[in-house]
Structure formats: structure tokens, C-alpha cells
């Protein structure tokens, strides 16, 4: 083990860890409660910069051989994860002053970074769990709502099931191959034996559960609604991205053989349809976003159908665009003192008259999530379906596109509420906050770049 390599390759992780240590030390020393925000933000910014530096440098290395390695693609994925957390932290300050919130957030990110770089199934498992566990607590931290405990418990129980399923799958794969390397999974994809296929199916099922794919999606609407706004934003973007990066790590570039293709295609397809249809009936904004994220998880897993380098390109680009647009929506969302009321979709009525900037940003976010050009969400959708078509699954691609069409209506309805309906009398005032504005600008800048120059990110693969 080369110590220089250990320091350099894990620099983003080290910086996150340093942030946690400083935060905990400050807590012991009884610093002012607001300190948590500043330290966490600086740690994140430094970690993001480190990941970007490693990517630009094209750094590749394996400090813990067979367990942890860094590639330029992995550094890019880490940068995306950490950078997405920056605006989330910026909108957290009003809700959370406690140090523990920021420690949990950094810990979860540490786990996400770990799984991106994992080379062995135990490391991947460690990363996945380290990413998920703090979130159960984060959901519970929302004291604004009475039902957040219920949401957190639901999430915890189902998350535990996912953990068990994942371990069972890993056990089967180990029993088949006698190896704990992540490469076993890719090898099992091409196998036709029962044992490896069962292992793959179990692992994929646990990822489906964590990404909220139908029929494992039941926890998502409750958890998204029960958590506070920044935590919902964190779950909808970074956790989802982390799970998809875990899937990407396992699938690598290996082609998927026939019986597994149908498993991998049908459930995501059902997710797209159900997520988009169920979102139409929602009256709560966060529940609607939960169903939207169920549909988007479907598109993301669709991207795994195509083999080769296009897979990583599609997943990372989609995750980045989807993450930016989701966080953008949450940064501008008007917030009132009564969380339950301000979360209602009707409270968005006439938003354009009251706060034009917020309304336009929310419209940009919705149109991008709907995948309408010229917004970057379209390029992301295009990438996914190009991959599916290139892999030869024309039927699935057409069905998926039609499913994505079903989603257009409820996104447009949000715009209709904001622009075309008159405001009702008792709307939450929701004055703009400076940090939230900074957060939305942080999302807007890359969104504009990706809308006009998608090649800037796409040509990096």
C-alpha cells in the first residue's frame, strides 16, 4: 500500500471525513449552532474541487487493491454527487442548525463516494449502507411534521429488507464464483445457470427497492412527503444517483443476456407508467415529485439495457441533469410556516404573479423533467432511449417513450397552476431567501451550459 496514493486517490472522501470530524469536535466544544453549516459547506466545496481535480487530471489508481480504485469516470461521478449536495446544504440552513444534520449528510455522501469507487462486493455494500443509514435519521429529523416518524420507519424497514436481499444475492454470487470482486456480477450477467442469475436478480431487486422501482416503491411517497424539504431534495437526487452509480459499478459495460433483459426492462417500464400516471392524482408537491422520481428511476435503469461505454455516459448525464433540475425545483419552492399547507400543489397557484423568478425556475425544472427540448432533460432522455434502441430493444424503447409521454401532463399542470391560475387568498408568503437564491443560481448555471453545450459533458467519456 502506497500512502501517497491512499491520500491522493481518496482525497474527496478524506475531505468529507475531515468535515465530519471538525463538526463533531465543534459539537463537543459547544460551538455556536450555526457553525455546522459553514464547516459542512466548506468541506463539500473542497471535496467537490478535489474530485474535479482528479477527473481533469485523468487520475487512475487503486490504493486498496481489489477493494477501492479510482478512475476518471468515478471521479466525475463523485464530483456530480458532491456538487449536487452543495445547493442542498445551502437550502438546509433555515431548517437545520444542528451539527448532527450536517454530520449525517456528510456521512451519507461519504458512503456514496465509496460505492462509486468500490472494486469488491463488501466495499460496495459498505458504501451502499453508509449512504442509506444516515438518511433514515435525516427523514426523522423533520420535526415540522407529525408523520415523519412513520415515514422514517417505513423507509427503515424496507431499507433493511433491501440490505438483506442484497447480501443474499452477494452470497449466491460468491457461492457460484468463489470471488468477492464486483467483476463477478458482470460475469454472472452472461451466464445461463440458475445460481448466478438468482444472485443477479436478488442484487438488482435490492437496488430496485432502494431506487423505488415499482413494485418496491411504496416507501418513497411517504418518505418524500414526511421528510423536510432539503432532505427530500437529498433523497430524490443524491441517494437515487448513488444507487444508480452502484448499479453502474456492477453492470460495468457487460451486455445483459436475454432472460435478465426482461427483468431489467419490464419493472422499470412499469415504474415509468405507474409513476407518471399516479403523479397526476397527487395534491402534494413532494408526493408528486416522489412519483416523478419513481418514473425517472425507470428511465435510469432503462439506460442499463444498452451495453458498452454508452451506459456510463447515459447514466451519469441523466443523473446530473435530473439531479440539477430536481434540486432547482426545491431551492425555489416557496416555503411557509405550515409545511403541510405550503406543500399543497394549490399553494403554487398564481406564483408567477407573486414571485416571477421562482415560478420561471420551477417551470424550467418541470419542463426539463418532462424531457421537453430545448431543456437538458431532453438530451438525457434522448441518451437513454438511444441506448435502448442501439441495443436492439425497439419495442421497449417505443413503450418507454410512450410512458414518458404520459408524464408530460402533470409537469405541465404545475406550470398551469403557477402561470394560468389566479392566486387564492391564503397563500404562504414565502419570501425569497438569499441562500436559496444562491442555491438556485448554482443549479441554473450548469443547467444552461448543459442545455446549449451538452457535448461539454458527453464528450468526457
Amino acid at each position: 500500500m502506497n500512502w501517497d496514493e491512499v491520500v491522493k486517490a481518496m482525497l474527496p472522501e478524506h475531505l468529507l471525513l475531515a468535515g465530519m470530524v471538525v463538526l463533531l469536535t465543534l459539537e463537543i466544544l459547544r460551538g455556536r449552532p450555526r457553525d455546522g453549516f459553514v464547516v459542512a459547506f466548506m468541506a463539500l466545496a473542497a471535496a467537490a474541487a478535489a474530485a474535479l481535480m482528479l477527473h481533469v487530471e485523468g487520475y487512475a489508481g487503486a490504493p486498496f487493491n481489489g477493494h477501492f480504485s479510482v478512475s476518471p469516470d468515478a471521479s466525475l461521478a463523485k464530483f456530480a454527487l458532491i456538487a449536487l449536495a452543495l445547493p442542498v446544504v445551502l437550502i438546509s440552513r433555515d431548517d437545520f442548525a444542528e451539527t448532527r444534520y450536517y454530520v449525517l449528510l456528510l456521512a451519507s455522501l461519504y458512503g456514496a463516494c465509496l460505492l462509486v469507487s468500490s472494486d469488491s462486493l463488501p466495499t460496495l455494500f459498505l458504501g451502499l449502507e453508509l449512504m442509506s443509514l444516515p438518511v433514515y435519521a435525516l427523514v426523522l429529523l423533520a420535526q415540522l411534521r407529525a408523520d415523519s416518524a412513520e415515514a422514517a420507519l417505513k423507509y427503515l424497514v424496507l431499507g433493511g429488507t433491501a440490505t438483506a436481499t442484497f447480501l443474499m444475492g452477494v452470497a449466491l454470487l460468491y457461492g457460484w464464483s468463489g470471488s468477492m470482486s464486483t467483476a463477478v456480477f458482470a460475469a454472472a450477467l452472461g451466464s445461463s445457470d440458475t445460481l448466478p442469475i438468482a444472485g443477479v436478480v436478488l442484487v438488482v431487486a435490492s437496488l430496485f427497492l432502494k431506487a423505488a422501482i415499482v413494485p418496491f416503491h411504496g416507501w418513497a411517497p411517504d418518505a418524500y412527503e414526511g421528510a423536510s424539504v432539503p432532505v427530500t431534495a437529498f433523497m430524490a437526487t443524491i441517494i437515487k444517483a448513488g444507487v444508480l452509480f452502484a448499479a453502474l459499478r456492477l453492470f460495468e459495460t457487460a451486455p445483459v443476456a436475454r432472460p435478465l433483459v426482461d427483468v431489467l426492462a419490464v419493472l422499470p417500464l412499469v415504474s415509468m407508467i405507474w409513476g407518471n400516471v399516479a403523479a397526476i392524482r397527487q395534491t402534494s408537491f413532494r408526493r408528486m415529485i416522489a412519483y416523478s422520481s419513481i418514473a425517472h428511476a425507470g428511465y435510469l435503469f432503462y439506460a442499463l439495457l444498452g451495453a458498452g461505454p454508452g451506459r456510463a455516459q447515459a447514466v451519469i448525464f441523466y443523473v446530473v441533469v435530473y439531479g440539477i433540475m430536481n434540486v432547482l425545483a426545491f431551492t425555489v419552492l416557496p416555503r411557509g410556516t405550515d409545511d403541510e399547507r405550503s406543500d399543497r400543489l394549490e399553494s403554487l397557484q398564481g406564483l408567477y404573479q407573486r414571485r416571477p423568478f421562482a415560478a420561471i425556475m420551477l417551470a424550467v425544472s418541470m419542463l426539463s423533467l418532462a424531457g421537453l427540448p430545448p431543456l437538458p432533460g431532453f438530451v438525457a432522455k434522448f441518451l437513454v432511449f438511444r441506448n435502448v434502441l442501439a441495443a436492439g430493444y425497439t419495442g421497449y424503447a417505443v413503450l418507454g417513450l410512450v410512458a414518458s409521454y404520459l408524464g408530460i401532463y402533470f409537469y405541465l399542470r404545475v406550470i398551469q397552476y403557477m402561470f394560468m391560475n389566479a392566486a387564492t387568498a391564503d397563500q404562504p408568503a414565502g419570501h425569497p431567501r438569499r441562500l436559496a437564491l444562491a442555491a438556485s443560481l448554482l443549479c441554473l448555471a450548469p443547467a444552461i451550459v448543459l442545455a446549449f453545450f451538452p457535448g461539454w459533458l458527453l464528450d468526457r467519456f
Partner: protein
């Protein structure tokens, strides 16, 4: 600074205008209108310059730009003028300032957002016409939805939300299948030629099996046919037109509907020529049904806007008929009819808007004897009515006549060969001319003549701004009607290429005399 700079300037001027208008201070409505109008006028000048310098005797693209955009997929920022789009680009640029001027006193709510959206849709429409790259085309094509959604939904009539959602959901459904088809087409070309590109010039050279062509053309055609709209996919149009504000109706009738026919002409038929030939009887039949059905529905409407909306379905049926004839005269007529309909229907919708501003009614029954009350209005309305009917010396005559002539030209050899369908269809299509005269003249008779009455009478006649708008439109209608050879000279070569590409050898022999 090459020649392409002018074309880029034309395309990006509205986008720059959007930024400029967004940055204007709050509450300065006249300034917003002025900047938008100035931007549109400047654009018209550039378009006029480009039209003047466009050389109809040279094949291929002119003023073209070709810059890689997403290198990895072979997507490029490729724009250019050719014979197929030069007239439509000019039409779009021509209607731009008129649309802004027409909305000068009609829009008082969210004036800034309104003008940003008008510039946005202008940008998207020009982009759609100019795009020479399939990806770019699709981006612009879909981008038109967003501003139109807001224009109808924010400034429209009572049922505006229903109408705008119907419009978006209809058109988006077509485009989603088109997206699948275009990715498939590019991947197929990639597989056979070895490199991936969205360049239209390259894609139209790909040799697809007939079966694949039929599927892909169906997907493209669905999208285009919804936009035209062709029977039986037309039901969104009356709602959208009636609920849209005047500006929305003018943009919709003036330019947006031509996107559908342009799509057939630019992509649908040339990319899949064999399939296009195989599907021609179906397309012709639907076109003729659109002509007659649209005209019949226009006859029984009681809302002036609805009459013009249904007449659009009928008139665009001629465009499709002319294109589907695959006869040079028919194709030229179709192109001319697109421009003519943009001017005439655009003008009529503007006039309905003008009278609506005064009376707040669009019901035919509310009006009578306007000729006595509003003489200037009535003169212009009569001229536009006659142009809509297709009276000689107006642009409507040249377009409709040539499209029908093309249909007969193509039908005669088929008739001699024992296939009577094209001839039957052409004969039925002629009846549309009679029906067109019937509903338009009847409309004019009901509202212009007879006992003088109108809501909120007495009314003031057209002011200088309104008169100027209509003078410009009428001048363009007569210019094309009297000298159709001038614009047709710019399109002839492209029309010939289109014909040769789609008709192939077999039909071409029959139709060339």
C-alpha cells in the same frame, strides 16, 4: 464574416431579443413592445436581404453553417437556406412584426412575458425551418410547444387551459413517436455506413428496406399530420384557435400549421421515398377528406374564428394534395399555397382580433351591415375573403390552382393505366373550391351586409396601426398573386429535386410530358 453570418443573425436575433426584453425594467410596457417590434423589423430586413440574395438556380444549401455540436453522436449545428424553406422563412419573418403590432393594444396582462414568448416562438419556428440536422430540427420542433402552451394558456379565452393542454398533448404524442423513429433511422444509417451523423444530407442517402421505411414514415407522418392538421387528427385545432389570443391564432395559422406540411416535404417524403410512394393513395385520400370535411364544417359554424379555423384544415388539404401529387406543378403550388395561406389566414385572424377588441364577440349572429359602420374594415375583409376563396390575382388562386393542376396531372396517366382513384380524388378536391367560396362569401355577406348591427355600437373604424398591418398583408397577397413566377423561381430547383427524389423513375416518366 461570411455570408452565413446573416442567416445566423436572422435566427438568433429573436433569442437576443428575448434576453433584452427580459432585462428591461418592470412596468415599462410600451418599451417592451417597442423593443420586440424593433427586433422583429430588423429581422424582417435581414430576411428580405437573404431572400433577395438567395439564388434559385443553385442547388443545395446557401448561407449554410455547419459546426459540430455533440461530436460524439455526429450532431451538428447545421442551418441553411434552400429552395424548400426560403419562402417559409420569409413568411415567418414577414408575419413577425405584424404579430407584435397586432397585439399592441390587445395584451395588457404580463406584457413582458408575452413578448418574450412571442420572440421565443419566432426563434423556434425559424430554427425548425432552417435546421439541416435531424437532432436540431427535433429540438426546435419541440421547443415550439412551450411558448405556444403559455400563449394560449395565459392570454387565451375562457376555456384556454383545456385548449392549451389539448394542443400540447396532441402534438407531443406525435413527436414522441417521431423521436423513436429518428433515433432508429440514425442508428440504422450508422450501422450501414459506419459513422454516426444527424446530417440530413447524409441521412437521405440511406437505403432502408421498404418495411422499415413504412414504420418510420408512419411515425414521422403521425407527428406531421397532427401538426397540419389532417383529418382525423384535427380536433385540437378549432379549440386551440378559438381559445387562443389573436397573436396565438395568427402564429398558429400563419406559420405553425405549415410546420406539418414542411415536415412532410423536408423529412417525411424524401427520407423514405419508397414508403412515401406506397402510402401516397392514403395521404391523398386523407388530404381530400380534409379539404371537403374542413369546408363542410366551416359552413355550419357560428363563431367567426371557428369558420377560419376549419377553413385552414381545408386549405392545408390542398397543400398535402399538391405535395402528394409528386408533380412539379403540384409541388410548386403546395409551397405557394403554404405561403398564401399563412398570409390570408393570418390576416383574417388579425381582423377577427381587431373587431373582437371593439365588440368582445365573435358570434356571426351578432354582426350585420359592418360595411356601413366600418367601411375600411369591410374593404380589407372583402379582399381577404376573396383571397381565401382563391380569386385570380390573389395569392390564393395561384397556390390552389397549381396544387389542383398537379393533382390532375398526376391522376391522368394513372387513369389511363386503369387506376381511377387519383382522378376521383382530384375531382372531389375541386368541389372544395366551391365549398370554400360558399362559406367565406356567406360569412362576408352575413357580417358585412344587411341590417347594420354589432355589439357595443357605434364602433370606430380601423386606426392607422391596424390599417398599416392589413395594407402590408394585402400588398403581399397581391404581389404573389400577380407575380407568382418570382417566388416560384426560387423554389423550382428544390421542388424538382424533391420530385425526383420521392417519385423515383417510374412515376416521373408518367408525369413528365
Amino acid at each position: 464574416m461570411g455570408e452565413s453570418t446573416w442567416l445566423n443573425g436572422l435566427l438568433w436575433l429573436p433569442a437576443l431579443g428575448m434576453v433584452a426584453v427580459t432585462l428591461l425594467p418592470k412596468g415599462r410596457d410600451s418599451l417592451v413592445r417597442g423593443v420586440t417590434f424593433g427586433c422583429m423589423v430588423l429581422q424582417l430586413f435581414i430576411a428580405a436581404l437573404l431572400y433577395q440574395r438567395f439564388d434559385g438556380t443553385v442547388a443545395g444549401l446557401q448561407f449554410a453553417t455547419d459546426v459540430p455540436w455533440i461530436r460524439d453522436w455526429g450532431v451538428g449545428y447545421r442551418i441553411g437556406l434552400d429552395g424548400l424553406n426560403v419562402l417559409l422563412v420569409s413568411l415567418t419573418a414577414f408575419l413577425g412584426p405584424l404579430v407584435v403590432a397586432g397585439a399592441w393594444s390587445a395584451v395588457h396582462k404580463d406584457v413582458k412575458l408575452f413578448h418574450v414568448m412571442v420572440l421565443f416562438i419566432q426563434f423556434a419556428m425559424l430554427g425548425t425551418f432552417l435546421a439541416q440536422d435531424l437532432f436540431l430540427f427535433y429540438v426546435f420542433w419541440e421547443a415550439m410547444l412551450i411558448p405556444m402552451f403559455l400563449i394560449i394558456g395565459l392570454w387565451g379565452g375562457e376555456r384556454r387551459i383545456y385548449a392549451t393542454l389539448k394542443f400540447v398533448l396532441y402534438t407531443a404524442f406525435g413527436s414522441i413517436l417521431m423521436l423513436a423513429a429518428l433515433i432508429y433511422l440514425v442508428l440504422y444509417t450508422h450501422g450501414s455506413s459506419g459513422y454516426m451523423t444527424f446530417d440530413l444530407r447524409h441521412l437521405s442517402g440511406s437505403q432502408l428496406p421498404l418495411n422499415t421505411q413504412l414504420w418510420l414514415l408512419s411515425a414521422f407522418a403521425l407527428s406531421f399530420a397532427i401538426k397540419v392538421p389532417m383529418f382525423p387528427l384535427h380536433t385540437w385545432l378549432p379549440d386551440a384557435h378559438v381559445e387562443a389570443p389573436t397573436t396565438g391564432s395568427v402564429i398558429l395559422a400563419g406559420v405553425l400549421l405549415k410546420m406539418g406540411t414542411y415536415g412532410f416535404m423536408k423529412l417525411g417524403f424524401p427520407l423514405f421515398p419508397e414508403a412515401a410512394r406506397a402510402m401516397m393513395p392514403v395521404i391523398m385520400t386523407l388530404a381530400v377528406i380534409s379539404i371537403v370535411y374542413g369546408a363542410c364544417l366551416a359552413l355550419v359554424q357560428t363563431d367567426i374564428k371557428k369558420i377560419i379555423a376549419y377553413s385552414s384544415i381545408s386549405h392545408l388539404g390542398y397543400v398535402m394534395l399538391g405535395l402528394a401529387s409528386l408533380d412539379l406543378i403540384g409541388i410548386q403550388g403546395a409551397i405557394l399555397q403554404m405561403v398564401s395561406h399563412g398570409l390570408v389566414a393570418g390576416g383574417l385572424f388579425l381582423m377577427v382580433g381587431m373587431i373582437y377588441e371593439r365588440t368582445h364577440s365573435r358570434a356571426v349572429a351578432d354582426y350585420g351591415g359592418l360595411a356601413k359602420m366600418l367601411p375600411v374594415f369591410s374593404v380589407f375583409f372583402t379582399i381577404l375573403t376573396l383571397a381565401s376563396i382563391g380569386l385570380p390575382t390573389t395569392s390564393g388562386f395561384a397556390g390552389e390552382f397549381m396544387a389542383l393542376l398537379g393533382a390532375f396531372n398526376a391522376a391522368w396517366p394513372a387513369h389511363l393505366a386503369g387506376n381511377d382513384l387519383p382522378l376521383t380524388l382530384a375531382v372531389i378536391a375541386v368541389s372544395g373550391v366551391v365549398l370554400g367560396a360558399l362559406y367565406m362569401l356567406w360569412l362576408a355577406q352575413r357580417i358585412l351586409f344587411g341590417e347594420a348591427r354589432a355589439p357595443h355600437a357605434p364602433l370606430t373604424d380601423l386606426n392607422a396601426r391596424e390599417t398599416a398591418i392589413l395594407v402590408a398583408i394585402v400588398a403581399a397577397i397581391f404581389a404573389i398573386g400577380l407575380f407568382p413566377g418570382e417566388p416560384l423561381a426560387k423554389t423550382e430547383l428544390a421542388a424538382r429535386e424533391f420530385q425526383q427524389r420521392v417519385a423515383g423513375e417510374t412515376i416521373q416518366l408518367g408525369s413528365t410530358r
